[in-house]
Symmetry: C2
Subunit: 728 residues, 2 copies
C-alpha cells in the first residue's frame, strides 16, 4: 500500500494503516479525575488502526480523480489557515446580526481569491466553504451564479461582457447583483409574476412597476443590504400587449449604496436558518431604465417597439441548472460531514452493558439498530460522491457543447446540446430533489443518533439542518422538480413503447422498455440480490413498469397528470437512484477486484442499494413483480444486517477517507482525535464561562422565589378577619 | 345545527356555517394597488362557508368531553389576554438571552396562576402554553414534574410534604428544583451513572461527588440559572459497597441564589432549539448533605449504615410516565397548530393555471399531491386527539389506583396497579416515540408545503421544529422506548402462545394470538378496506404475526434481541397505531351515524388508517399475508386519492374545529382571516423597518465594492514596468 502523502497541516487526517497499534494510546490528561471514566479517544484510535485499505486511494476514488482530490486537500489547508474563512466555535453563539457581519467579511475575503485564482479552483473553494458557511456560499452564488448566469443566459455576449467584466460584478467589485425572480404571491410559477416592465416608446425606456402587494419581490438574497443591481423578472408590456415574463437589469442602489428613488427595499427578517443571508423584499414604483437594460439574447424590443421572439427561448432556462447541480454535490459533502461526526461518536460513545459482568459498556455502533440507522447513510454518501461528480462533468460538457454550437452557429451541435440539456433537466431535477431530501434525513438521523449531544449547537447539527432544509424549497421546489422529472420519464417510456429511440446517454436505459415490460421477478433468489447488475436491471425494470402502469392510469383518467403526481415523485426518486447505482457500478469496475478497496466498496455498494432502494421501495418492487415477495424478510433482516456487520469494523477508515479536517466537520463531539468529553466540556466552558453563574435576569427569578405569601400580597383582604369586618 | 357559543374574545374562531356566502366578502384595503392581486382572504372565507357540520360539536369530540372543551376555550381566552403570556411576533427575533428572560417572566406569571387555580386547570394551562412556549413549559415541568415527581415517587410522604409544601416548591416559591439524572457520558442508561453518594457514618451524612468528566451532570434543565436544588442520581456507596443508583436532594444555591461551596455549575450554552431553557452542567466536589436528604421510600440507609432495599423499587419509575404521556398530547396540539396553518395557506395560495384561459391560478390544495402531503397529517392529528386523551385518562386511573392501593395497603390493588403500570409503560412508550416522530415529520412537511414562506421565522415552523425535535430524544430516547415496547409485545405474544392470558385492557388484544396466527388476507377486497373493524383486525393480525415471526428469528439466533431491534421499533409504531385506531373506532360509535359529523369523521378515520398504517407498512402487511398484494395499487392510488377528495372541501372547517386562536397558531400566513399577504408584509415591515436600508456592517461591504484595482493594491509591483526594472 502506498504511503499516505498529504499537506502537513492536515496531520490529524493522516493515518498509518499498517502501523500496528501498540498498547495504550496517548491520552490527553488535562483534568483531574478520581476514577477512570470512559476513554473514547483510545477507542477511536484502536478502531482507526483496523483500517485495512489506503484512505488516500479511497479519497481519490470518492473525489473522482487524483487531481481533484489534491485540489480539495489544498483548499482544506488554505481554508483552515485563513484568518477570516476558518471556523470558530463561537460562531454557533452568533446572533443574526453577527452572522451577517461575519458573512460580509468572508465575502470580501473570498473576492480576493476570486480575483487571483482560476475559476475552477475558486468554484471548488466556494463549494467547500459552503459546507461550513452555506449563507456565505449563497450570498456569493446569488451574484456569480444566479445574477450573472441569468445575464449570460438571457443577455447578449456584449451585455454579459459589460456587466460582468466592464462593471466587474464577475469579481464582486463595483456592483453586487441579486436575482429578482420570486414574488410574495408567486414562487415556482415564474410565468405568473405580476411585476411589469412597460415600454415607453417616447423616451426609449422601460418602466418597472410593482402593481400590488403580491407582486412584491420576496426572499431576494442580497437585496436587504448588499445588492446594487437586480435582474428583475417582469412582464414585458409593449403597446398594451403582454409578452410574458422577461428579464431586466435594474439598478437598486447608487455608488454610495443609497437606495435609488422608486426603489423600496426591506429586510424579510428572521428565518429558520441561513440567517447570514440578507434576504429582502423589493417594490418598484415606476422605476425608469434604459431599453438596453433588458436582456436581449432571445427577445428583442426594437426602438419602435417591435418585439422579436426567437425560437430558442427555452435555452434561457439553462442557467438554472448550475444551482441544482451544485445542490446535489452539496448533499455529498454535507453527508460526508455528518456521517463522519455521527460515526465517530457512535464508536466513542458507550451505553448499556451487554452483560452485568462486562467491564465496559457497549459501543453505540455495536448495536444492530445503530448500524441500521447510520450505515445506510454512509453508503448513500459514497454513492452520492460518485454520482454527483458525474453530474458535474455532465453539466460542464453540456455547457461547452452549447457554447461551441452557438459560437460556430452549428445547428446540429445546438440541437444535440438541446437534447442533452433536456436530459440534464431530468437528471439534475431528480438528483437535486432526491439528494437534498435524503441529506436532510441524514442530518436528522445523525443528530438523533448522538442523543442529547446532537442537540447542542456546538456539535453543528442544528445550524446545519436549519441552513440545509431550504435547499428542498428554493431553485425549484423539490416536489415540483420531481413531478417534472417523473413526467418526462413517463413520456419517454411512452415514446419508446411507440417505437422511438432515446438518444441521450443518461435516459437511454429506457430504450429497453418493450423487453422489460414483460420480465417478472428479476430478483428471485438471494444470489440475485448480491449481483449489482441484476439489481440495476431490477431498478430499470421497476422504473419502466411503473411508468407503463401510470400510462394506463392516465388513459383511464382522461390524461389527468395531476392524479399521478405522488407517483411521479416516486419515479423521480427511483431515477436518481438508478443514476447513482449505474455510476457506482461503472466506477467500481475501474478498481482491481483483488484489492481491499474493492472489497470495501463492494460492500458499501450493496448496502447502498439494499437500504436505499430495495427496502424503501419494496411495495413498488413487489407490486410490479420485480422482486419476489418471499425475499422481503431476507432483504430487510438478514441481508441488511450482514452488510452492516461487514462494514462495521471499518467505519473510522471509511469516514476518514472523506478527509474532512476538524475545521470542516466543525463539531466538538466529532473531532478526529475522538476525545469527545474533554473537547466538549472544555469548549463549553470557554464559550459560557461558569463564573457567570447568575443570569442577567436573575433578579426577576429571585424576586419570584422570595415573594411574600399570597395572603400578604393580597393585603390580607381575603382573610377571615377581613371577612368578619366586611360582613358586619 | 346548534348555534355556536364561544367566548367573544375569540371571535375570529366563530363561524356561521349556515349563513349563505353572499357575493364578495369584505376585504381589508390598507395599501394602494394598481391591479387586482390574489385574494386569499376571500378564498378562505368562501371555503369556510362550505362547512356543513357543527364545529362546536367537532371541537368537543376532539377534546373528549364538553367540560374539557370549555376549559380549553377559557384558557385560550385567558392566555390571549394575559400581558406576559400572550404571544408577540417580535419573539421570533429574540436572541437566546432575550428568550430566557421572557421565559423567566412567564414562569413568574404562571406561578401566580399555580397558587390560585385547581391543579387540573393549571396543568391544562401549562399544556396549552407549551404549544407556543415549549421552553417555558419545560422549565416549569422540570420543577413540578421531574423534580417533584421524583420526590413523590422515591421519597416518603413526609419527604414529599416537606419539599413540596413546607418548602413551597410545589408553587415555585422559595426553591426551584431541577432533575440531576443525565451525565455527560451517560444518557439512557441511568444505571451507568458515575456520580457517587458515599455514606459517612461518622457525621451521618452523604458525600456527593463527581469523580470524572464523564460523570458531569449534563443537559440539566434549570441548572444554569434557576435551580436552588436538584434531585441527584448517584451511586449509593455504603461501607465500600455500591448499591446502585439512588436519588438525593442536593441544595445548589443558597437563599441569595449564590452557588454553594463544592458546587460547580455552568451553562451548556447554545442549542438547536429550546434556547429559553437554562440547561446547565453540574459538578459536585465532596458536597455534604444530611442523610435524610436521600429519598427513602424504597431504599433506606439506617443510622448505622444498614441498607434496606424493599421489593417494590420498580415502582419508583412510575414518575417517568407523566412526561411521556404529556409529550404524546403535545403531539396532538402541535399537529393541530401546524395543520391549521398549512391548510389555510394551501387554500389561500394559488400556483400555476390549470388552463391558460383560466382567470385564476389553482389553489395549492386542489393539487392531488398537496392533498396527499397534508391531509394524512390532518387525519393523524384527529386520531391523536382521541388517542392521547384516552392515554391521559389511563394514566390518571393507574396513578389513583396505585395511590389507593398504597394508602390502604391493599396488596391486590397494588398488584393490579403494577400490572396496569407495565401496560402503561408500553402504551406511553410507543405513543410518545411514535407520535413525537410523526409530529416532527408533520411540522417538516407542513413547512415544506408552504414553500419559501414556511422558512420565514414569522410563520413559526422553524422555531417550533427546533424546539420540538428534542422530544424524540429526552425522557426516554424514542428508539430505546420503542425497542422496549416492541420487546414487551413480543414477550406477551410468546406468553399467549404458551397459553397464558393477558389481563390488562390495553394489551389484551394480543390474547387472540393463536387464532390470528393462522389467518390469511384479512384484507382481500376493496370493501374490506372500507370496514374499520376489518382493518383493526388486520393491524392486530400484523402485530401478532410479526411478533411470532420475530420469535422464530430469535430462536434461530440464540435469543439475540439486539438482532431484531429495527423490527421492535416497527412493532412499537404499529402498536401506537392500533391504540389510535381502536380509540377512533370506539369514539366514532358514540356519534349518530346519520349526522354530518359522523360522515366527516368516518372519512377522516379511513384516511388515517389508509395513509398512516396501510401505506407506510405495506411491506409488512404483504409479507405477513394480511393484505392481498393485488390491493397495493388500489390503496395507494385510487382509495387514498378518493379519501383526500372527500375531505378536501371541508378542510377549513376541520381545522377551525381545533379552535386554536391566532394567539396560539402564531403564524403570519396562518391567521384565521386568511389575509395572507397583507398580514405578512405589514408585520415584516414593523419588525424590520425598511428605513434601515443600510446594514450596520455596510461600510465593510461598500469598501469591498469600491476597492481599488488589484494592480493598485499591489503597488503596481507586478506590472510590466516593475518587471522591466527588476530584471535589469
Amino acid at each position: 500500500m502506498a504511503l499516505v502523502s498529504m499537506p502537513k497541516s492536515l496531520n490529524q487526517i493522516i493515518i498509518k494503516p499498517k502501523l500496528k497499534h501498540t498498547g495504550e494510546p496517548l491520552e490527553v490528561k488535562s483534568t483531574v479525575s478520581t476514577t477512570d471514566g470512559p476513554k473514547p479517544a483510545a477507542t477511536i484510535a484502536e478502531e482507526r488502526s483496523r483500517t485495512n485499505f489506503d484512505i488516500d486511494e479511497m479519497h481519490k476514488f470518492l473525489e473522482g480523480s487524483p487531481e481533484k482530490a489534491e485540489q480539495v486537500l489544498k483548499l482544506y489547508k488554505s481554508l483552515e489557515r485563513d484568518p477570516i474563512l476558518s471556523t470558530n466555535f463561537e460562531h454557533f453563539d452568533y446572533t443574526k446580526e453577527q452572522e451577517r457581519e461575519l458573512v460580509a467579511q468572508r465575502i470580501d475575503r473570498m473576492s480576493r481569491y476570486l480575483e487571483t485564482e482560476p475559476a475552477a479552483k475558486f468554484n471548488r473553494r466556494l463549494q467547500i466553504m459552503t459546507v461550513v458557511d452555506p449563507s456565505m456560499g449563497v450570498r456569493i452564488a446569488v451574484n456569480l451564479g444566479l445574477f450573472l448566469n441569468c445575464i449570460r443566459g438571457n443577455g447578449t455576449d456584449a451585455q454579459y461582457e459589460y456587466w460582468s467584466k466592464y462593471k466587474e460584478s464577475g469579481i464582486i467589485k463595483q456592483m453586487y447583483g441579486c436575482f429578482g425572480m420570486t414574488e410574495l404571491g408567486h414562487g415556482s410559477n415564474v410565468a405568473g409574476c405580476e411585476t411589469t416592465a412597460t415600454f415607453d416608446e417616447e423616451t426609449d425606456t422601460f418602466v418597472i412597476d410593482t402593481p400590488t402587494i403580491s407582486a412584491t419581490k420576496w426572499w431576494i438574497g442580497g437585496a436587504a443590504h448588499s445588492a446594487t443591481h437586480t435582474v428583475c423578472y417582469a412582464r414585458l408590456i409593449v403597446k398594451g400587449k403582454d409578452y410574458g415574463v422577461k428579464t431586466f437589469v435594474v439598478p437598486l442602489r447608487d455608488a454610495n449604496h443609497n437606495l435609488n428613488p422608486g426603489i423600496a427595499i426591506g429586510d424579510i427578517g428572521a428565518k429558520m436558518g441561513r440567517q447570514g443571508i440578507d434576504n429582502g423584499w423589493i417594490q418598484f414604483t415606476d422605476v425608469v431604465i434604459p431599453r438596453f437594460f433588458m436582456l436581449q439574447r432571445w427577445c428583442i424590443v426594437a426602438r419602435d417597439g417591435t418585439v422579436t421572439l426567437p425560437p430558442l427561448e427555452q435555452l434561457s432556462y439553462i442557467s438554472l441548472l448550475e444551482g441544482r447541480v451544485n445542490m446535489a454535490t452539496d448533499s455529498y459533502r454535507i453527508g460526508a460531514r455528518y456521517t463522519t461526526i455521527a460515526l465517530r461518536y457512535a464508536v466513542g460513545r458507550r451505553q448499556f452493558k451487554a452483560k452485568q459482568s462486562d467491564a465496559l459498556e457497549t459501543k453505540l455502533l455495536d448495536y444492530n439498530l445503530h448500524q441500521r440507522r447510520l450505515l445506510p447513510y454512509l453508503a448513500l454518501t459514497y454513492a452520492a460522491a460518485l454520482g454527483t461528480y458525474r453530474l458535474e462533468l455532465q453539466h460542464e460538457s453540456v455547457l461547452s457543447e452549447m457554447e461551441k454550437g452557438l459560437k460556430e452557429n452549428n445547428k446540429q451541435l445546438i440541437n444535440q446540446a438541446i437534447v442533452n440539456t433536456k436530459s440534464l433537466f431530468v437528471d439534475s431535477g431528480s438528483m437535486k430533489s432526491s439528494l437534498t431530501w435524503l441529506a436532510a434525513d441524514l442530518i436528522n438521523e445523525a443528530r438523533q443518533s448522538c442523543g442529547g449531544h446532537g442537540y447542542s449547537a456546538y456539535n453543528g447539527f442544528g445550524k446545519t439542518y436549519n441552513d440545509w432544509v431550504v435547499q428542498c424549497t428554493w431553485e425549484g421546489d423539490n416536489n415540483v422538480l420531481a413531478m417534472s422529472a417523473g413526467k418526462t420519464i413517463i413520456k419517454n417510456v411512452q415514446q419508446v413503447l411507440k417505437g422511438k429511440t432515446i438518444q441521450t446517454p443518461t435516459l437511454d436505459f429506457l430504450n429497453d422498455a418493450k423487453q422489460l415490460l414483460a420480465v417478472k421477478n428479476v430478483l428471485k433468489s438471494e444470489q440475485d440480490i448480491e449481483d449489482v447488475s441484476k439489481v440495476r436491471l431490477a431498478v430499470q425494470a421497476v422504473i419502466i413498469k411503473f411508468s407503463a402502469s401510470l400510462l394506463e392510469l392516465l388513459k383511464a383518467n382522461k390524461n389527468k397528470w395531476d392524479l399521478i403526481s405522488p407517483q411521479r415523485v416516486q419515479l423521480s426518486k427511483l431515477r436518481c437512484h438508478y443514476y447513482l447505482l449505474e455510476t457506482f457500478e461503472d466506477r467500481l469496475k475501474t478498481i482491481s477486484p483483488c484489492s481491499e478497496l474493492y472489497a470495501q466498496l463492494s460492500n458499501v455498494l450493496k448496502l447502498y442499494y439494499v437500504s436505499q432502494i430495495l427496502i424503501p421501495f419494496t411495495a413498488e418492487f413487489i407490486r410490479l413483480n420485480v422482486l419476489s415477495s418471499d425475499l422481503i424478510e431476507y432483504v430487510n433482516t438478514t441481508l441488511a444486517t450482514n452488510l452492516c456487520l461487514a462494514i462495521r469494523p471499518y467505519v473510522i477508515g471509511l469516514t476518514d477517507s472523506f478527509k474532512q479536517p476538524d475545521n470542516i466537520t466543525f463539531s466538538l463531539i466529532g473531532k478526529y482525535d475522538g476525545n469527545i468529553y474533554e473537547n466538549y466540556l472544555e469548549k463549553v466552558k470557554v464559550l459560557n464561562p461558569p463564573r457567570n453563574f447568575k443570569a442577567p435576569y436573575s433578579a426577576a427569578l429571585e424576586a419570584m422565589l422570595n415573594r411574600k405569601s399570597l395572603d400578604e400580597r393580597n393585603r390580607f383582604e381575603k382573610s377571615g378577619e377581613a371577612a368578619a369586618a366586611l360582613s358586619k
